[in-house]
Symmetry: C2
């Protein structure tokens, strides 16, 4: 299969849907909606949304029926980036070559835009009940809210901050990565499958796939922070090191980090071996996640 | 009926449930859970949670079956207070006589505690599917996410900030109040009724009740900011005026503000006239909202 055209097409679907689902800038409060759109509609890989779609397709579902949840994951991702960049957090002025949200709209507006995006995400998940049964939507809400909260992304962010400047073990680093990034990646692929009526066996396979890909994704991010081209990833390379954050390359070196990311990807691909050709995009995406250059 | 003992008993139910539903401080990340508990379990009236319960009871439902959603509303309320108090927003050092969350836990942790509380709220709503049908939980998720987001609380907060120091009309002030406070109050009473299987006629009555009480609640807050006893409300009296915020008393004077709040309460009580004795707590709560002294 042609991964690039697959990603291209799904990304187009997602971005059209985001544009429809997110409040317009001619509706009040206009400035808030500008701030929200500035971040959510900024160029991005849409990897979480595409995983929702690919998760649906892998079990015989249709991508367009899970678009609201796919967009919800992008809203949660955008919310986390806006809040991470704030002065009280990483204090970043640029993201992917553009000024960060608070540099353009001010701190108060940026924080509120993030808050609004998190609320909007759950509105979109509720809206997915228009194309999926209620008894599938409710468990997806549960899954995604947990993946975003103290057991997931926000919890991982806290542990990451508290570990700055400290010695931590490989297990502790993996626990941070799992919460901070992997849980939401796992929730993406699982929610697409759940909304499409996946069987218990299929969900178990997706679960393992999601864990492996999620962890590989964060290791790859750590590696890109060391070796990435500044222009490509749009923030100063090595910024994690300057902030004294523990990363995979710092703990294991580059080579061993790459080996571990590759191992997670292989494990993810094996987990969905039984799913047949419909899961081919998921396999390609797993490989892409460690090979991407931004 | 004895309103005080009614409020007392329901508040006890809510606070026990909050203590059960909110992650413990011996689970990681411990510091985040301390920060969350510091704010959510701080003394409070629990008016939103009690309105969920009273909304359920008014249509023949049971309070204990809607407790997760009642607690979700308290989580959203606590999230909004933590974020409002941050330096980039109102920059308040005290709330109800205690240091604000960021004064104790630092800005980053306070912001993340707020974020986690919003995610937890949606997890709790999803959990309410254990005691209510999925096809009632999904619309409640939609209602509450909208009431919290750009069409509700966060949107009202933005408009409030942007209007500081400007002349605004009575209609604009009402629009701010409706979004900032009334929408979530309305969502509280409606969600209790929806989860309990209220009829269309009952929901229409609750809708009107919620709007009236929500608006009266915010007007009463504005009035308390002028006339309240500093020790009672726990922040410097007149702090809204110092921040150059437009309030009801500033726009209409105290007497006219009190008259308007009373009018909204009467409208709310009339809206639920047909609901019989089961709605008596809602009527008493409506009166209490404008008569309270904190």
């Amino acid at each position: 299969m042609q991964l690039q055209s697959y990603l291209e097409e799904r990304r187009g679907l997602v971005e059209d849907a985001l544009d429809r689902f997110i409040p317009r800038t001619d509706e009040p409060p206009e400035r808030l909606h500008e701030s929200i759109r500035y971040s959510v509609l900024a160029p991005g890989k849409r990897i979480r949304a595409i995983l929702v779609i690919a998760g649906a397709e892998a079990v015989g579902g249709q991508g367009r029926l899970v678009l609201p949840t796919a967009c919800a994951l992008e809203c949660i991702h955008a919310f986390s980036l806006i809040h991470d960049d704030l002065p009280c957090m990483d204090d970043d002025d640029f993201r992917r070559g553009r000024p960060t949200n608070h540099k353009v709209f001010g701190e108060a507006m940026a924080m509120l835009a993030g808050d609004a995006l998190l609320a909007l995400a759950f509105e979109l998940i509720a809206d997915n009940a228009q194309t999926a049964p209620d008894d599938r939507v409710v468990p997806v809400m549960k899954l995604i809210s947990r993946a975003a909260g103290t057991a997931g992304m926000v919890g991982g962010q806290v542990t990451d901050i508290l570990s700055e400047g400290k010695e931590i073990t490989a297990d502790e680093l993996q626990a941070i990565h799992t919460r901070k990034t992997a849980e939401l990646i796992r929730a993406s692929v699982l929610s697409g499958a759940m909304l499409s009526g996946a069987s218990g066996r299929e969900l178990a396979a997706m679960e393992m796939y999601g864990r492996g890909v999620g962890l590989a994704f964060q290791i790859a991010d750590d590696i890109l922070d060391v070796v990435g081209d500044e222009a490509r990833i749009g923030k100063p390379v090595g910024s994690d090191a300057r902030q004294d954050k523990v990363t995979y390359p710092r703990l294991f070196g580059l080579k061993e980090s790459e080996r571990r990311a590759g191992e997670e990807v292989e494990r993810a691909i094996q987990a969905i071996a039984s799913l047949g050709t419909a899961a081919e995009p998921l396999r390609e995406i797993a490989r892409y996640i460690v090979e991407r250059d931004s």
